[in-house]
């Protein structure tokens, strides 16, 4: 068992690392070649390790990747694919230098900036990041993004094509660009996280992997002093708070459990602590950003000892602020729920009246279940039942449907 834990995630994480290092050496133009080379190394590891695992698996893989890099270099030099970067004699030393810890981190950051390059489209950015940084296979990306393998393939090849035609370089953005480029990096990281956290898929494992990757990428950014920024800290905090309750969102029968009914003792405390430390590091002296507000809301939830102790007053004011800088019907819906919890029933109704079912797309059922809550507060149980029926007819996720049906059945019991 010990051996098995030793290699948990090793391959996925090493894949991203090695692809980044080798790309740093050979250039983005040879990305596919590089990915194949890393893959070969892993296959060789699989073949020999299955009989006997080396003492230090990570060191074994690093050594293998270095040797592969030297092979590749000789191969390319011979066929003159690339101009000579270093001499035949010094290859080993030069290649060794690329494997120093700070160089590895730098290479991975360059890969992140490549993935989030403004010349790539949003869909391509996510697919590219999952492939080249997180080491997902095409099928795994398709599974994670709930799309077809074929379209993932297209997105990846379009991304590679664009890198070539736009001559995108494997480097850090210019100083004056860093701020806007980081904003996009944060967005992509948050998108990856949300694919994991909010998706209706039942495969908890894939969801955890996606959330874990997003956290890892965000930490990579924050480890680099010149890249640290308030929004990345706030984003890390937000993702930590959400992740801490990932396990308690689904019960042992694979049913959805809402915030109110989650077992708070199961929330993962170390992540909440990490989130709070990250939140403190995000500078709040100026006007709050959306990440900061979202993190603050999530923090209110995870630090309330019980559901009934939730500070809804603060949460409502945070949603007001959030909707002001980022007007959005989902923010309004959440605001109306929070107001209801505060017993500000008429104020909640006013907010709710400003939303239409169709604004919320596939989450339209939440609109009706919120109206149901409103009617329940007013003791109008028949109206509440009508709203719940509408919600039940729209909800896609099976466990959420069960939850709503139970809620309706309980309406007339009290």
């Amino acid at each position: 068992m010990k051996n098995q834990q030793l290699i948990d995630h090793l391959f996925r994480h090493q894949f991203g690392k090695m692809v980044s290092i080798l790309t740093q050496i050979f250039g983005l133009n040879h990305l596919e070649l590089v990915e194949d080379a890393v893959q070969d190394t892993f296959i060789a590891a699989l073949k020999t390790w299955k009989f006997k695992i080396p003492e230090d698996p990570e060191a074994w893989l690093t050594k293998a990747a270095k040797n592969r890099a030297i092979d590749l270099f000789r191969q390319m030099n011979k066929s003159k694919i690339r101009e000579v970067k270093f001499s035949q004699e010094s290859i080993e030393k030069e290649i060794n230098d690329y494997f120093l810890d700070h160089e590895i981190a730098d290479s991975q950051l360059r890969m992140i900036f490549t993935a989030c390059h403004p010349d790539l489209q949003a869909q391509e950015q996510i697919a590219f990041a999952l492939k080249s940084i997180a080491g997902f296979s095409m099928r795994e990306i398709a599974g994670a993004l709930l799309t077809k393998e074929e379209s993932v393939k297209k997105r990846l090849s379009r991304a590679r094509q664009r890198i070539k035609t736009q001559n995108i370089q494997f480097k850090f953005p210019e100083k004056n660009e860093i701020k806007s480029r980081l904003a996009r990096v944060n967005e992509v990281i948050y998108l990856i996280f949300n694919e994991g956290f909010h998706s209706g898929r039942k495969d908890v494992l894939i969801r955890k992997e996606l959330c874990g990757e997003a956290l890892r990428l965000c930490r990579l950014i924050l480890e680099k002093e010149t890249l640290r920024n308030d929004d990345s800290y706030a984003l890390l905090a937000l993702m930590c708070f959400h992740s801490s309750r990932l396990d308690s969102r689904v019960n042992e029968n694979n049913e959805f459990v809402n915030l109110e009914n989650q077992d708070r003792t199961k929330w993962y405390k170390p992540l909440i602590d990490l989130g709070q430390r990250a939140f403190e590091k995000s500078n709040h002296s100026k006007k709050l950003s959306t990440y900061q507000i979202e993190a603050a809301i999530a923090m209110e939830h995870v630090t309330a000892s019980e559901f009934k102790h939730t500070n809804w007053e603060t949460i409502s004011s945070l949603y007001y602020a959030l909707n002001k800088i980022h007007p959005n019907k989902f923010n309004l819906l959440n605001l109306s729920i929070s107001l209801l919890m505060e017993n500000k029933i008429e104020e909640s109704k006013k907010v709710l009246a400003g939303i239409e079912e169709k604004d919320l797309e596939q989450r339209a059922y939440l609109y009706h279940s919120t109206w149901a809550e409103y009617h329940m507060k007013n003791q109008e149980f028949y109206k509440a039942a009508e709203s719940l029926d509408k919600a039940i007819s729209l909800v896609k996720n099976e466990s959420e449907r069960k939850y709503l049906i139970k809620k309706k059945n309980d309406l007339f019991l009290n």
């Binding site: 290699i7 391959f11 894949f15 296979s137």
Partner: protein, 115 residues
């Protein structure tokens, strides 16, 4: 007690397009099997083989490079285990991790000639 060789036949991993995660999953299954046999104290030896085959054959000792067999029949490695019976050896072989890849395992008793 008798020695049995379990010979693994199947397509080369390099031709299967496994993702890093799948490689990892496969490795874990092999380790679990390995750990199990290790804890039973039955492993006598085992090695993996490179997929490239060179064959020398006939009275003229003709040397040729493979492949010679169908890709699914390629020998990828072996284990030798010491157990009380063929039935026990077959039971152990049930846990061979690569059946799902279309691979197979052959169980052969090692011949002992008692003088």
């Amino acid at each position: 007690m008798k020695d049995f060789m379990m010979i693994f036949l199947g397509e080369d991993y390099g031709d299967l397009g496994l993702s890093p995660e799948q490689i990892q999953e496969r490795m874990k299954k092999w380790m679990a099997w390995n750990d199990k046999m290790e804890s039973m104290g039955i492993i006598q030896g085992g090695e993996a083989l490179h997929p490239e085959v060179t064959r020398i054959s006939g009275k003229d000792r003709v040397i040729a490079d493979g492949p010679f067999v169908e890709s699914k029949e390629l020998v990828g490695g072996y284990y030798v285990i010491k157990v009380e019976s063929k039935e026990k050896a077959l039971e152990i072989a049930q846990d061979f991790p690569d059946f799902d890849l279309g691979s197979s395992v052959e169980v052969r008793e090692v011949m002992v000639f008692d003088m």
